[in-house]
Symmetry: C2
Subunit: 247 residues, 2 copies
């Protein structure tokens, strides 16, 4: 188990092997065993395997090739639609049209997603998370026909690996973990925490390819820019309002 | 591995056995191997074992006894403070003072939390998530001394189990999973999905104890009320503003 956790690699190239129904059911069962708020299970999981649906989703995942290539694209959504309907049919008045409810649903959908991924990896499948889901939620809602009170929060492509990538680097544990309370970082701490990453040939090459002076600039100026973040923040907030979580 | 996933029970009573440093380090290593956005690792993990810190946190987790009883209380936070400092020291201008960045950090912190929990469970430890973290983030920020751009999103108590609870029920898979696109629920679907839950003696008793007509009313009128959700939504939004994620 620990080995499955520590051996994780994102898999972006898959063989043509499909995932059989029994296997998919096992992954979904494992997914739904994750902890969730009050056992309300305020999430839904959309499993898309149809070529047309995957092709329709692809542009909103910025045409990353995994979306059409993977046998299944699995979208994890906050879902208060089902719970609200249940309440209404049971003479109960739901009060989940707000940001807190969305947030707890988002945590629960994400925990379910990670269980799904680890179950998949333990069975020899490979996965990749698509962070684009919150950027283009509005379009994903249209394609997947999500009703009010349903918002997609993350997407996973899954299939049998056709590549064996190296393990990705991580910051040293002492750069991420604090004991008792938070110890803020001194400039020298930052240098220490990022030293290994910055001295690796891989990232030096990555910085050079992007014509940047520093690796940090690749993030701020190319990959995760302020302009894009601000644009997609507005879009995401508009989605929360349209889907009923901002009353 | 699948068995660890499907056997999950939240553990709320712990023995007095402490978690040794080596074990905790393994859990934290496994935690940080989770997928994350752009490998930026925009989260921090606060491990609190000090009795005074746990006692200070307890009221803000609504005095659930696990907080003081568990040997460790682990708070998973969105953290752009470290990343921003790195950017600033590397002649890069960070643009992460927005809701989208918070949301991606929230997903990443949650994935790390679930890896932590599964690593713990695979080693015979038990965990319980505390959903109260987003409700009382402002107070947790004070106690854990979280600087600007750091927001706690979930908390896990961890220790050696001193109880063996039954497996919790879950909705049938067909109530939570959709294929290709979302199929909205008819009233008869809702009845089918909730039938097993509603007919269980446990929930009948739970409904009676709460003096409610229906199980749904226990959620709407007692456990997760509109008034509380609206109050804590405002508080959480104020925290995002104060911590710098709403520019």
């Amino acid at each position: 188990m620990i080995k499955t956790l520590t051996n994780h690699r994102s898999i972006r190239t898959y063989t043509s092997q499909q995932i059989d129904k029994q296997t998919m059911a096992e992954l979904l069962e494992a997914s739904c065993r994750a902890s969730n708020t009050g056992n309300m299970q305020t999430y839904s999981i959309i499993v898309s395997t149809d070529e047309k649906i995957k092709a329709a989703l692809a542009p909103y995942h910025f045409n990353q090739k995994m979306v059409t290539q993977a046998p299944a694209v699995v979208t994890f959504c906050v879902d208060f639609n089902r719970f609200n309907k249940w309440c209404q049919q049971r003479n109960a008045v739901p009060g989940y049209d707000n940001f807190l409810s969305f947030s707890s649903g988002m945590i629960d959908a994400t925990l379910a997603a990670q269980n799904f991924c680890l179950a998949a990896e333990s069975k020899g499948l490979g996965i990749c998370y698509l962070g684009t889901t919150t950027y283009t939620a509005k379009k994903i809602i249209e394609i997947l026909k999500l009703p009010k009170f349903v918002v997609p929060v993350t997407t996973v492509t899954v299939g049998y690996p056709n590549e064996t990538p190296n393990l990705e680097d991580r910051l040293p544990l002492e750069g991420v973990v604090h004991y008792e309370t938070y110890k803020d970082y001194l400039p020298t701490d930052i240098d220490t925490i990022y030293r290994e990453k910055e001295s690796s040939e891989k990232y030096k090459q990555f910085t050079a390819e992007n014509n940047k002076e520093t690796l940090a600039q690749v993030f701020t100026d190319v990959r995760y820019t302020k302009a894009n973040n601000e644009h997609f923040s507005k879009e995401l907030l508009a989605v929360l309002k349209e889907q009923g979580f901002w009353e």
